[in-house]
């Protein structure tokens, strides 16, 4: 068992390194907004790649791999070539899923394939923002543009001798660009710092007529001060808006077919997943609501001949919360609590119930880069049974 566990985790680490590298090479995604997605929502839909091994401690282990059509296209697309936005978006909204199930003798017992289609994806930040959000970002961009001009005017007036040299001007630009890349203006060139802290610049910004902005004088004053305190206000507004969209609804449909090699027959499943977050305070990680439905038509193993008498449906509802995050607001540990109701439409084997209600919790721990260890505890309150499911997943996309 240990050997299997180690091999499974290693395969995920290798997948993580392999596809993670491809992603970096091909897309170079900075993906600030992506950092705010939870591992739970990435499990529902991946826009690049996802690999996982389920039920590590059980008798059957399933290795699964999912990729969006965009992820696969990225791997084979010529470097430097680009896609039209609509084409790219369509490919990001669909993914395919492959699975292999093995038994304790390491024989392949099942092969599966399916598609995940997004019915509604309001989390997609590439889709046009609401007008109010666009206006906020555009106004802030105009303010920053004006602020930079005023800073350089201030330096030209107060340090005219140094400012006459191209080398000094270049240093000033390099200093600003470095801070802009880091989104941290706390360590800028002393001339820029002096300009940002001057009351003249603040007054000029407040009384400037050359900017068409939604911000009032008090807000402009506060924004100017924020840059002096090292804050990148344009980036803060950008992240707030990205966070707002990351809380919206994602609803997917997944039809899936599995071929059982032992019983030589197919089984099919239809899954629906929906997730959205509660709470408007973008500074706090929200509670994420998750609703799931799954209907399967498969064989009843108690009947020896080929059959489709096993027809379970399960419905679950739960909430997921980020418990730990790093300085970049990336989730590192999550806890999910959910209830599940299962009903058997087909044959009910002797000694089992047609209805099962269970209470469940999943603790997801990020162990290395994109590698997660989700541990699920399932409790049947009627029969007082506990069941533990241990898995390993690697979400390799944005």
């Amino acid at each position: 068992m240990k050997k299997y566990l180690i091999c499974s985790i290693l395969s995920c680490v290798i997948c993580s390194a392999l596809f993670g590298q491809s992603e970096k090479d091909l897309k170079g995604v900075s993906a600030e907004a992506n950092k705010q997605k939870t591992a739970n929502s990435k499990d529902i839909f991946t826009s690049l790649y996802r690999a996982g091994i389920n039920n590590l401690l059980g008798d059957d282990h399933t290795f699964s791999f999912s990729s969006s059509f965009f992820g696969i296209d990225s791997m084979f697309r010529k470097k430097g070539s680009t896609l039209l936005y609509e084409q790219e978006r369509k490919m990001r909204q669909k993914s395919f899923n492959l699975g292999i199930t093995g038994d304790t003798n390491n024989s392949i017992t099942k092969l599966s394939g399916g598609l995940t289609l997004t019915l509604i994806n309001k989390k997609d930040i590439t889709k046009r923002f609401e007008d109010g959000d666009r206006k906020k970002l555009e106004s802030m961009s105009l303010l920053v543009s004006e602020l930079k001009r005023k800073i350089f005017d201030y330096i030209a007036k107060h340090h005219s001798e140094e400012n006459a040299k191209d080398s000094v001007k270049k240093l000033l630009h390099d200093s600003w660009n470095k801070a802009d890349k880091k989104h941290d203006f706390s360590d800028v060139h002393p001339f820029i710092e002096e300009a940002l802290g001057s009351s003249d610049l603040e007054n000029e910004m407040v009384n400037s007529n050359s900017i068409n902005t939604i911000y009032n004088k008090e807000e402009i004053k506060a924004i100017t001060k924020s840059y002096f305190q090292g804050k990148d206000m344009l980036h803060i507004v950008y992240l707030d808006i990205a966070e707002k969209y990351s809380r919206k609804l994602l609803w997917t449909l997944t039809p899936d077919i599995t071929y059982d090699r032992e019983n030589k027959q197919a089984a099919c499943a239809f899954a629906m997943d929906a997730t959205f977050a509660l709470g408007k305070n973008t500074r706090k990680k929200p509670w994420e609501v998750e609703l799931k439905g799954l209907f399967k038509i498969q064989n009843d193993t108690s009947i020896k001949k080929r059959n489709y008498e096993n027809k379970p449906i399960s419905i679950s509802a739960g909430v997921n919360k980020v418990l730990l995050q790093n300085e970049d607001k990336e989730s590192k540990m999550e806890f999910k609590f959910f209830t599940q109701y299962e009903y058997q439409f087909g044959n009910v084997p002797i000694g089992t119930e047609a209805n099962i209600f269970s209470l469940n919790s999943t603790l997801r721990i990020n162990v290395f880069k994109s590698l997660w260890l989700p541990v699920t505890l399932k409790y049947d309150p009627v029969n007082h049974n506990f069941l533990g499911i241990f898995a390993v997943t690697a979400n390799l996309g944005n």
């Binding site: 897309k27 170079g28 995604v29 900075s30 993906a31 600030e32 907004a33 992506n34 680009t82 896609l83 936005y85 790219e88 930040i125 590439t126 889709k127 046009r128 923002f129 666009r134 970002l137 555009e138 961009s141 105009l142 920053v144 543009s145 930079k148 001009r149 350089f152 005017d153 330096i155 030209a156 007036k157 005219s160 400012n163 006459a164 191209d166 001007k169 270049k170 630009h173 600003w176 660009n177 802009d180 989104h183 050359s210 990148d232 344009l234 980036h235 507004v237 950008y238 990205a242």
Partner: protein, 100 residues
């Protein structure tokens, strides 16, 4: 007069915006002031720059896709100047010095 061309290309998103600023401070000889904003791809040619002078070329904006910029024309190397930003806000500035 010297000529420069500034190009901006957005891909992968509907949320794109940039303010282009070409300027030389009022406190310096031959001040210059050009500002325009764009919601998509653009190509701007500026033909009235003085020879042998430094100008700042600034971009402030955001994209949830990718933004690539290119500055070329009558200025001393490095020429052309290129840069790109992905899923981010940005406000970089570049100094050019026109040829004699």
């Amino acid at each position: 007069m010297k000529k420069i061309t500034i190009e901006g290309k957005f891909t992968g998103s509907d949320n794109n915006f940039v303010v282009l600023d070409v300027f030389r401070s009022n406190a310096e000889p031959f001040p210059y002031d050009f500002r325009k904003s764009y919601n998509g791809n653009f190509k701007e040619t500026i033909k009235d720059l003085q020879p042998d002078l430094a100008y700042s070329i600034d971009f402030s904006g955001f994209t949830t896709g990718k933004f690539e910029l290119k500055i070329s024309g009558d200025f001393i190397p490095p020429n052309p100047i290129t840069d790109s930003f992905e899923k981010d806000s940005f406000s970089p500035g570049y100094l050019i010095h026109t040829t004699k």
